[in-house]
Symmetry: C2
DNA sequence: TTGCTGATGTTAGGTCTTATGACATTGCAT
DNA sequence: ATGCAATGTCATAAGACCTAACATCAGCAA
């Protein structure tokens, strides 16, 4: 599985190809990058080069936007995914100590607090269409 | 399997990416195209766009050349592959008749004749390194 | 309504990449 | 030595992409 991941993270597509594969404009793709949702590589000539993973993220963003979730919400979702990934990595690398258990509990409580108070943050989580 | 084939034949890579993935020069890649070994698509701006299949072929060409086989030999190999593929397709579509058997025999005999007389053709089959 | 903000469109000027065609080079094979 | 196969190199033109700035337009707040 390691080689597959590597292939999926190889930066091989210029923005023109990504535009066709995702049906997004260059403006949108660069904007999502500016929002920190993707981090394409650059080639020697300073041109953005995207991986299959990048394309997956862009397609997900499209879906989320279509569902009415705004950038702030999408960023939140990716922050969560990031945290989950890190947690899994850590879990694989060393046994869980009592201190870990306390920390995890603490983190989770913090997380719940954040979610409940979302509307007080910089931007609302939901937007436009499909009101809940 | 149909979708996978489709993906492998999608023209998504510009020549710069292909150069890196295959470690061939643009000159070489275009030359192999001129020899009919690959048929990359063109985008609206007339730029060559390559598929994963194209890249496979290019990597194979590299190997064949490293083995000392020249263009003529490589073309021959790809002609054979082409014929095999067509034969398989045909076999799947209809039962084999006596006429088919005769034709196949005939073709194979012709093929053998060509191989034996290769040195009388335009170019020799083998080349440089690794003499047999 | 008025004004602000988020997401995207559009444009301009500059740089990088690719296309084509020609000529040069290198190594075999005759 | 000659010829051909495979590749290098160069010039010119055109296409793709970059950054930065300003424009638009819908939704929301005051």
């Amino acid at each position: 599985m390691k080689e597959k991941e590597l292939r999926r993270s190889m930066a091989v597509f210029p923005i023109g190809t990504v535009m066709k594969l995702t049906d997004l404009t260059a403006r949108q793709i660069r904007y999502y990058e500016a929002q920190g949702l993707i981090q394409p590589q650059r080639n020697e000539g300073n041109r953005r080069m995207y991986s299959l993973n990048d394309i997956d993220v862009l397609l997900d963003i499209k879906d989320y936007l279509a569902e009415g979730i705004n950038m702030a919400g999408i960023k939140h979702i990716y922050d969560m995914k990031q945290r989950e990934k890190q947690k899994k990595q850590a879990d694989l690398k060393r046994p869980v100590t009592d201190a870990d258990v306390r920390r995890i509990f603490h983190d989770e409580l913090l997380q719940q607090g954040r979610l409940q108070n979302e509307q007080h943050d910089a931007a609302p989580l939901f937007h436009k269409h499909k009101p809940l």
